[in-house]
Amino acid sequence: MSLSVQNLSFSYGERPVLEGISFSLEKGEFLSVLGPNGVGKSTLFRCILGLLTGYQGCILSGGEDMRSLSRREMSRRIAYIPQINRPSFGYSVLDTVLMGTTRQLSVFAQPQRAQVRQAMEALDRVGAAHLAERDFTRLSGGEQQLVLVARAIAQQAGILVMDEPTSALDYGNQLRILGLVRELAAEGYGVLLSTHNPQHALTFASRILALADGRVAALGRPEEVLTQALVHRLYGVNAAFAETQGGRMLVPLMD
């Protein structure tokens, strides 16, 4: 199931946030969205997730306008992996992942054995099956993020949308989550992920969408579009590239 954003514009009142955004996301692709704070990455994601509908242009999933789909149908196509936050009430990890299977259930139904199996398989996929009985709120940040990825897997949607999933994680967990997401893309998920760290996009993503001033500043393969000029335009930082045995590294040049 592909996702296609066509000429998307959005404004909060008089203030335009996004103007003429177009791109598409295919199965197996890891598209990383870059841009400075306040450029509209979250607004773009909220439009794609159907949480904001007052936009111009259209967002197509499998050729159908997202605005014409029910919540349930949307959740069959796109799964959202939020940043870890502090939930009001704690549930067990298994129950948290089970919530991802809700779209399969009729309104009055409760998860059955089949859903429990899917949830456990999803936990197993992210290597967190041993956490199933734990209280979600008592996990470390890295573990919580893994569980939220498992919830999205249990949702069985073709596209994963992640809004800065690594911002609350330590260095090691950032890399492990992004590595996992890259594997999921290789397994056939279409991944749309925003990040504050261009190095992450360079190392893990298959394509980059760079936003500046509400417009697309660059769209393409990381090694082609992520240039010194683009880094300067997005972040006002002078940087150089270094080729290392771990791949291409972005090195900031501080005065």
Binding site: P87, D95, G100, D124, H130
Partner: protein, 348 residues
């Protein structure tokens, strides 16, 4: 696949524990229910209580005095049944409000549902409405206050938990002032005592007809909540996250708030304002079975029923004059609320 892949019977240890708790609560409530018939000025032994109750279902030989039957069936049964129903509904409503507002401090009294219902009832009494009109007004104003609190809370900047609580305090005091004004202008010979009875909250003088009267709106409020209990879990994640999981959050939230308000209004309409049950019991239930509404809702119903029954037993037996139950629940509830607010590591 590793051993953890299939929790036994598809249930985690937490779920098995919750089920065991529910079974135990059922047993405790049944025991308390029977024991409550024995308590009272007129002595009826437990064996006779059981026989009198069974005689309603089975043809049994009358081995008891007519006075005993009158005490058990006409006086104690309605009151015991109503205590259970009201406790069950108030704590179910509190649990539902907490989930919908993602706020562990939400409760029928905190959100103004109770004071709104009291205002509506007082107004209806002042205007000389019949009984159905009083319940209807209690319900309408209950709904109005919750809607007001919600709208104000959402529009206020800052932490939503705190702003909804503050909005609840403000709207409640507004309606309390309204109620006081009504008391001021009410006829002191008949209207004022009726209004005062509501505000104190009491189950005394309950007739079997009252129980039947309360049962229908309570069932209407409780059934959808129980049916929706898995989805109510999802609402606690917040609107946006819940929506991306395929839940129609707007409609679900509305249904849950309506049902919880219905339960509150129905309870207040028959028993007056009995505070704190809807806050204390949901919290104790969460401690016991966790936050999963699949177990939490039934647990808070059972615990609420048992709690109010116990408090009512105290209220009618502790002193020679009856203590209005609303006063007793406040004595228990207010300190508990302070404990919740000051407990270390509490999220507020």
């Amino acid at each position: 696949m590793s051993q953890t892949i299939q929790p036994r019977g598809g249930k985690t240890a937490g779920a098995r524990r919750a089920r065991a708790c529910l079974t135990a609560l059922c047993g405790l409530l049944a025991a308390l229910f029977l024991a409550s018939f024995v308590l009272g000025r007129y002595d009826v032994p437990l064996s006779q209580v059981a026989r009198i109750l069974l005689s309603r279902l089975l043809p049994l030989e009358r081995t008891w005095a007519p006075n005993m039957e009158a005490a058990v069936i006409s006086i104690r049964l309605p009151r015991i049944a109503l205590a259970c129903l009201v406790g069950c509904c108030l704590s179910l409503a509190g649990t539902a409000y907490q989930s919908v507002f993602q706020n562990p401090m939400a409760a029928p009294d905190i959100l103004g549902a109770s004071s709104g219902a009291c205002f509506g009832a007082a107004l209806a009494i002042l205007l000389g409405f019949p009984r159905g009109g009083i319940t209807g007004m209690a319900f309408a104003f209950s709904l109005l206050t919750v809607a007001l609190v919600y709208v104000i809370g959402v529009r206020t900047r800052g932490s939503r938990v705190v702003s909804i609580l503050l909005a609840g305090v403000m709207v409640s005091s507004l309606f309390s002032a309204g109620t006081s004004f009504i008391k001021l202008v009410a006829d002191p010979s008949n209207q004022l005592p009726a209004i005062t009875y509501w505000l104190m909250g009491s189950l005394s003088g309950t007739r079997l007809a009252d129980v039947g009267f309360a049962l229908i709106p309570m069932a209407i409020g409780a059934a959808p909540l129980l049916l929706l209990r898995w989805r109510i879990n999802i609402l606690t994640l917040g609107d946006e996250e819940a929506a991306t999981l395929g839940v129609n959050t707007g409609a679900l939230r509305l249904v849950v708030i309506l049902c919880a308000t219905f339960l509150t209004a129905a309870s207040v309409a028959v028993s007056g304002m009995i505070g704190w049950v809807g806050l204390v019991i949901p919290h104790l239930s969460r401690k016991l079975v966790g936050n999963d509404c699949r177990y939490l809702l039934p647990a808070s119903m059972l615990m609420g029923a048992g709690f109010l029954l116990l408090v009512d037993d105290i209220s009618r037996n502790l002193l020679t004059t009856e203590i209005p139950i609303g006063i007793l629940t406040a004595f228990i509830g207010a300190p508990f609320f302070i404990y919740l607010m000051t407990r270390r590591g509490n999220v507020l």
